[in-house]
């Protein structure tokens, strides 16, 4: 199977010699939604940041389709088709909604920008209604929608979403996940980090569980639901595997 994103044996961290991601591997096929789960401090968010180009990578491989991303700076990774939505501070609060979107639209080729914008706004109509508003004045859910819409304007082949459900009401999470599924149906591979295990199980085609920066479990949500080790990792029960 041709992977949209292939991360292999990734070792990454802020300081050389003290990796937070310690050999993790994950692959995402086009149109597939892969959720990364794990206890606090497992390196889930750092994994996404390293793939996006914000955390130094010490070794390993990151490929977006045929492109090797390891030596590419963050802005080039975005231009090559990698969208990343951080968990916090994911919009430019002092810029209007329109300017937030235009920043991403400017990166791609001029042709098709308008259609791309219309497509993103059709998926997130609540953002379209607030185009002239400062992004800092949006609600938490609207900010998340804007951040995803903006990432879409970069015409991504893969979207990295860091805890998109954090701080949102179940209703908003449901709405957001419906849109994420729609994006995946359009062929975009999605790698999302979730603390919310139930939500991740509901949306993901496949789940990867990280512990201490390494893969611990992997499988379909249904299979993992029955795995006693996953429950143990989350409720802190000793499993002999260490966490």
């Amino acid at each position: 199977m041709n992977l949209a994103l292939a991360v292999d044996g990734l070792i990454a961290g802020y300081e050389p010699g003290t990796p937070i991601v310690a050999g993790a591997s994950v692959g995402v096929a086009p149109g597939e939604i892969v959720a990364v789960l794990g206890p606090n401090g497992a390196g889930k968010s750092t994994l996404l940041k390293a793939v996006a180009g914000l955390v130094p990578i010490q070794s390993g491989q990151v490929r977006l389709g045929e492109a090797d991303l390891i030596r590419e700076p963050a802005h080039r990774r975005a231009a090559l088709g990698l969208g990343y939505v951080p968990q916090l501070e994911n919009v430019f609060a002092a810029l209007s909604v329109e300017d937030n979107l235009a920043l991403a639209a400017d990166v791609g080729p001029r042709a098709g920008r308008h259609a791309q914008l219309q497509q993103a706004l059709a998926l997130f109509p609540e953002i379209g209604l607030r185009r002239r508003q400062l992004a800092g004045r949006l609600s938490g859910g609207q900010r998340q929608m804007l951040a995803v819409a903006r990432a879409l304007l970069g015409r991504p082949r893969v979207l990295l979403l860091d805890e998109p459900s954090a701080g949102l009401s179940p209703k908003i999470v449901g709405e957001l996940f419906t849109r994420i599924r729609a994006i995946a149906r359009g062929g975009v591979g999605i790698l999302l980090v979730e603390q919310n295990v139930r939500a991740a199980r509901a949306i993901a085609d496949r789940v990867v569980v990280l512990v201490q920066g390494q893969n611990r479990l992997e499988g379909t949500p249904a299979a993992l639901e029955r795995d006693p080790e996953l429950a143990a990792l989350y409720i802190g029960r000793a499993t002999g595997a260490g966490a």
């Binding site: 996006a52 180009g53 914000l54 700076p73 963050a74 802005h75 990774r77 975005a78 231009a79 990343y84 951080p86 501070e89 994911n90 430019f92 609060a93 002092a94 810029l95 300017d99 235009a102 920043l103 991403a104 400017d106 990166v107 903006r150 990432a151 970069g154």
Partner: protein
């Protein structure tokens, strides 16, 4: 009461405003106070003068003035080239020094390094041109009567007009264009800007280029209205920072209005309290703003 001091303040404020625009952009986008910014004014002024001298030698006669101003289109052209060269100087210093410090160190390291750059650039000017004051023109200008007993020379009015023109241009650039949008994004959150696809290094280069060029224009304006000296920019450093902070760091309209506020406050102090207190005005304004409204007039609250 003679309101001439207001006119004087406005003219000084216009020069400060151009310098403060560069200060505020550098501060917002690079997150450090560049104490070498004043030297860009001096270098811009000297580069203009040197280019005018070279052009005069090539033409076999000094560049002609255009009545009623004390300078002509020739020096204006030299000032434009000097602005580009000063922007280039700012880029060069960033490539050689500040970029490396940004990658490795903290903002404090860059601030301390900028002190060193400031001294080096000034010493170089002194070595090349000596500390003797120079003038773009020796012509005496007659001040034109304006309203309420105020008078201004054609050069002073031209400086104000150029400031308004450039201020409008820079405000439109930052507020309405793609590069301006990127600059605002980098000022707010460089990491997020990068993952959205903004080439942060290119935005930083544009910031240096623009800041350096505006400083050079301010230097030429100052040289035209007062004189050209190696320390001319360094002496304006504190008022420029005061203007940028009064207006709110990162805000171009803020820097412009801040410049006028500092200029008029200085002139008012000279008129009613005494010239020896002039230098204290910037300090007083700086402290007052930082205590009462640290975000300045137009800055975003933290």
């Amino acid at each position: 009461m003679n309101l001439q001091f207001l006119m004087d303040g406005l003219v000084v404020g216009a020069t400060l405003a151009l310098g403060a625009t560069g200060v505020t952009l550098t501060y917002a986008n690079l997150r450090f106070a560049n104490f070498a910014h004043g030297e860009f004014l001096s270098w811009g002024a000297y580069l203009s003068m040197t280019l005018a001298g070279l052009a005069g030698s090539l033409l076999g006669a000094p560049l002609a003035a255009r009545e009623p101003f004390s300078i002509g289109v020739g020096l204006l052209g030299c000032a434009l080239v000097a602005a580009a060269l000063t922007g280039g100087l700012a880029l060069l210093i960033d490539a050689v020094l500040f970029r490396r410090l940004r990658e490795r160190g903290t903002a404090v390291t860059a601030v301390m390094a900028s002190f060193g750059v400031s001294m080096a650039l000034r010493a170089l000017l002194e070595a090349l041109y000596t500390t003797r004051p120079r003038y773009y023109s020796q012509e005496l200008q007659i001040a034109l009567p304006l309203a309420e007993g105020m008078r201004a020379t054609p050069d002073q009015l031209a400086v104000c007009a150029v400031t308004v023109l450039l201020a409008t241009g820079v405000t439109l650039l930052i507020g309405r264009t793609a590069i301006g949008r990127r600059m605002r994004a980098v000022a707010e959150n460089p990491s997020l800007a990068a993952v959205v696809g903004v080439d942060v290094a290119a935005v930083i280069r544009a910031t240096w280029l623009l800041g350096g060029a505006l400083a050079a224009v301010a230097g030429v304006a100052l040289g035209l209205l007062v004189q050209v000296r190696p320390s001319m920019g360094a002496e304006l450093l504190l008022p420029m920072f005061a203007a940028a902070i009064v207006g709110g760091i990162g805000s171009v309209p803020g820097a412009l209005i801040g410049g006028v506020i500092v200029g008029v406050a200085e002139a008012t102090t000279v008129r009613f309290i005494g010239a020896e207190w002039r230098a204290a005005v910037s300090f007083a304004l700086l402290i007052a703003v930082l205590l009462v409204r640290p975000s300045g007039l137009f800055g975003r609250r933290a």
